[in-house]
Symmetry: D2
């Protein structure tokens, strides 16, 4: 276990739940930055899967740089239209040619794989956005350094060496405010949308807690085809407000105030109406790694990594792996060990050593009243050790789309 350099120590701050002011944000599925994150990650999965299918291992690639240029639209009650399409450029590196041991040279259609992944992602998640006409998708995938070759293949995974000093951080459990912000968006874009097609995918939620008062501010793009007039619009807004309130009170006993589309000016007719369900249709550009962190949230009260997780190669990109793994570890610890009020896991890589042997694996803990660090240390260490040993399962989960990255 000493190889893993695991340290379990008290954290040097208040639990976030106990801090006076807390701020949390989540950019929903249809936010321009999230669209880029989602496409970058879909392209990554599709490339990894294609490599596995064709040559039995994941080759070098990195697609963490999608750029979205906003379009122009003319939304209107009952149904408006896109005037100028959104432009989306998929950027990255991907191996296009590879010779397998049997001497066969494989040509991997990386550009087409990327475009198909983007098309499938858009078709699956954005019912009002037509691939190719509402949004033009182009791709520039260069070749990377040819000597990089990654092994995550048919014979099982090998633990790669760290080739960079990189840092990952994960937290658990989520605070009430974090839980509300995260759940509200997920459920608005899930169950709520199913019966309320007027709600677009571009839902941005900001949570602010001061003491015991929580303000949840929602910016929710409405889809014009399902909104006949101003009254229907205000009903749609109220529907979102009520739903988010309901979700919130499932997770807290504190006072919660929900505000939806506060920038609207009904008299001026200035409302958040869209044709496609995303502000990318009109003036809001986006790119990868500018929004949610790997746990789906932006949490200034907590340590965050700058790493853009989406689109990175899950076989050997330490930043991606460590951010996802530290979050997974934190969740596992809190799930399995009693008495933990706040936990931060930090993993720091060591260049030239296998990634399951980090330079530092810190577990900073705040225990609940009556629980000492020493009470939980052995269990925590064991879980950290176990999860580090299973690091390649993060890679597998990412390729199979079981882990979200934004």
């Amino acid at each position: 276990m000493t190889d893993r350099n695991i340290r379990v120590e008290p954290i040097d701050r208040l639990a976030v739940e106990d801090q006076e002011v807390e701020i949390v944000e989540r950019k929903g599925l249809g936010h321009p930055d999230s669209i880029c994150d989602g496409i970058a990650e879909s392209v990554s999965q599709a490339l990894a899967q294609t490599y596995l299918d064709r040559v039995g291992k994941v080759l070098h690639y990195n697609t963490d740089e999608t750029q979205l240029v906003a379009g122009n639209a003319a939304p209107a009650f009952g149904g408006g239209e896109v005037i100028e399409p959104i432009y989306l450029l998929i950027v990255g590196r991907a191996t296009q040619e590879y010779e397998t041991d049997d001497g066969v040279t494989h040509h991997i259609p990386t550009g087409r794989v990327a475009l198909e992944a983007a098309r499938d992602y858009i078709d699956a998640h954005f019912p009002e956005l037509e691939f190719g006409t509402d949004v033009v998708v182009d791709v520039k995938l260069g070749e990377g350094s040819g000597d990089l070759q990654e092994v995550f293949g048919e014979d099982g995974a090998t633990v790669p060496m760290a080739n960079d000093t990189s840092f990952g951080v994960g937290h658990a459990p989520l605070t009430e405010t974090e839980t509300i912000v995260y759940e509200a968006e997920r459920r608005l874009n899930g169950e709520y949308h199913e019966t309320n097609p007027e709600l677009g995918q571009d839902v941005k939620i900001m949570g602010k807690r001061e003491g015991d008062e929580i303000d949840i501010t929602v910016a929710a793009a409405m889809v014009d085809a399902y909104v006949g007039g101003i009254e229907e619009y205000t009903e749609a807004v109220e529907g979102v407000r009520e739903f988010v309130s309901k979700v919130a009170y499932e997770h807290t006993d504190r006072e919660v105030n929900v505000h939806v589309n506060t920038a609207d000016d009904l008299e001026e007719g200035s409302i958040y109406l869209t044709t496609t369900g995303t502000s990318a249709e009109q003036g809001d550009d986006g790119s990868v790694g500018r929004g949610n962190r790997a746990n789906g949230l932006i949490t200034p009260n907590r340590s965050m990594s700058m790493e853009a997780t989406s689109g990175k190669n899950p076989v050997n990109h330490i930043g991606k792996i460590y951010n996802l793994l530290s979050t997974r570890i934190a969740e596992a610890v809190v799930d399995e060990v009693d008495g933990i009020r706040d936990l931060r896991i930090r993993l720091l890589s060591q260049i030239g050593r296998p990634i399951d042997q980090p330079h530092v694996a810190d577990a900073h803990v705040i225990t609940e009243d009556g629980v000492a660090i020493s009470d939980v240390r052995p269990e925590v260490e064991a879980i950290v050790d176990r999860e580090l040993a299973d690091v390649t399962d993060v890679t597998r989960s990412v390729i199979e789309g079981e882990l979200t990255t934004f």
Copy 2:
């Protein structure tokens, strides 16, 4: 009638049918240049129709500049794949904002109209080519000069003024070789393809007649998904050869030799196999106005206009109108008047005068033996006059897709 400056005169050369050497070429539907012509013209029709639907008249636009950048493909018997997508850039000018008399400002989604037209055109004509993934279509439509406003609207058409010195030329009847080349491609891409899906759309036909011997050379892209092996390939090639021979002998009693895919080297495995049915998938770029003239042929034995007809605005672009109209006139004359062996109609515009009053309207005629020019002059003049008077019908026919431009 004098306003129309119609002249009927003998031509100063042999009838093309009587010349010793004749060369004719047609780039078929799926040739990269023809793909561009077809999309440019589809975009033009869609814009014209959109303007008519929304503001009751055709506004200023011009979309005669589509550029195709070839992709990369790996065809294989039984089905290969596109490796790198084709890139297609629609270029031109189109009015995006227009205020109707009732004070309403209309925003015309010119970019989206263009993309939808391209998508529909590709879907309709290229079953093996998937819009958005096999071919990325982007669009750059700027605004043109704002003061140009065209009238072809609900109250009927006004004859516009010529704003340029431009020239159109049309011929009739087609020679035997021309007829064979034209018909062979049309019917290969029509009835033959219906029962022979292995034949792609990229069919290029070159006809050469020396004296009474006609050589027809066909380059026909085969679609790999329908070709299981080299034998099926040679059968497919032979099928095309036989069909073209059959078509040829419907139009001539001369000796005809048909050659198909002569560049093939079966032993080297170098054959004309494609995944999508067009050479645009692998190395052949294309653009508008580089292939067939308005009558669907390239005929070095005849006068040709350099004008790129496809994509131009059919309301006021004189080059487009005069090339289509002169062809229409030539065909009408030959259809209605007996005794004409060869006919060339030339129209030259006069800046500042209505386009139904050309500066010159030449009909150069070769009559059959025993027929004098003076015998046919009155009839020819009358038809030229009638068709010029009906010039705006060319515009209507183009917008409604009744006239082909390439």
Copy 3:
């Protein structure tokens, strides 16, 4: 000599100089189509030279597809500005990797070579157009078919085989009208511009002769920085008119009327004023092969090839070579042989045979009064034979920039 299939025959029409109506056009250096021709040809020369310098022979490439998308400008007396830059996309194929006999693999920077050629061309010819800011130049050069390898190298040139049925046509001598149109543009963009910087490069000249009356219509873009007001503008226009008149009367005794910028409406302030000297700055798109033929003119009275000559590989592209060579032959014949009033040279390739042995080499001649075809036939045949034998000198001349293509 029989290998060359040379035929010298009477032409079956009037000399163009004797026809009743003649039309000639030249798109000057700064016309959007000519800009594309010029850049495509510059890129071609630079690539050929780079291949020669690095691997000792010209490799496979083809760059005949530049696309220009017009910008937006706000010209103003004394100096306006470009509002939106012109966009120019260089398209084609070029070999990027090549292994020489010594086993060294060379990486040819085709994209950068193309961009540098475009920059140098723009800097040399368009003093008012700044590369990179007034005009954004991008490049998409794919790889062509790898098995094509061309030999035009250090050990001297080999005559390549024809791999396509292609056709070239050349004419001489130029008529008076043709000469005037050609010379006027060349000299306006040469000596005249040197002392008259107010004249932009976008000079388009249309010549029309009816009987003995010649109309020369010039559209000349003026550069705003050198034009202080409406009076200076009219002086500039008058200057061009006088210069063109002078040039014209050096070549004809016929009556010549010169019209410059006839579309101007001085009262409305609608004049042909530009910031950069080309209409590409405002709404006029362009592409390769849409303008002048290989001899620099558009001549509907003569046979023309549809081939886009600029940008094609001069080693093995038969269309390019035969169009340039037939023009060169025609000029040589007229230069060396007395008594020829009009001459058309046509070369038709024969697939699979060396290109110095065409399928047909026609010299169609109109002799002057008192000269019989048989008088000139031997001399003409000898010159055609000589020039065909020297076909690879066309390649050399093109690479070294001695031959113009538009």
Copy 4:
């Protein structure tokens, strides 16, 4: 003062200087992400200045989305070359048309201003990178929402209203490790480069402190034209190592180990050699907001904002203003008040209120031994208040390029 909601409180953690493990990173001037940050911010400054010059106030714009697609290069001792150019796309929104009170409509050449700013930035900072040929720069600036109009003009600045809930955070003083990382990069790219042209601009520095041992890891791109062979390369690397050591010991008494280009494998010839001085030439893409925070560092031990500061409009983008302002406040407090060991300033905006009246203005302080919070509170409050009152000076400083954003 109560309007400003200023709170001065103890921080709930150890001073970063006292924490056991500290990690700091700086992506230098030539890192692909920093190139994008730098260009985005230059474009922003140029647009702001252009608006001020032409219409007397800063209009709506936002240019925080530059995307860089890496090129391909073949570095070689003594001078290699760029094979495929870098592609850089400037993305954003900018007002192109504006009517001043005198009824004059101004057309702002936003695209050209952006391109010129990019050119000037590249020319000024990257001597080995040629604008337009080594790097193709394109621009897509759409119009934003037209009703947004900003006032920062000739009559002095107005304090704008917050239109978003946004958050800024600043820290002071820098720790020793932070100082070393920051200073080392700045001075390598400054004084060191002046006499050592072999050092490229792409210098990435990672600092790690464990207890009292500091590791500084530098990845420094060397420029091939100035490196004649492997010995010169190792000398160049050693030169950087010595210089950074020297800089480090100016700021600490702790033990410092400096590692430069540790990924090199000299025997394999795998070294960090470039032609242009940046890894963007070969495989490393980049975009805005993915690298350094507003204070020039990435500091996982401290609270960070996800906000991409570079390229944002400094008149009314609260995220940008508050991040820069909080840093400025922190620095001012530490500069003027004795006894502060660590300070974090957080500003949270209040929608609908002037931005000099934040919802929260937190100063979290760690005092030095023997100093109580109450001792410094009045001074700190006064400085926070003073700087908030002067918020529009941040805008001015940004426009005039006095403040760096990355």
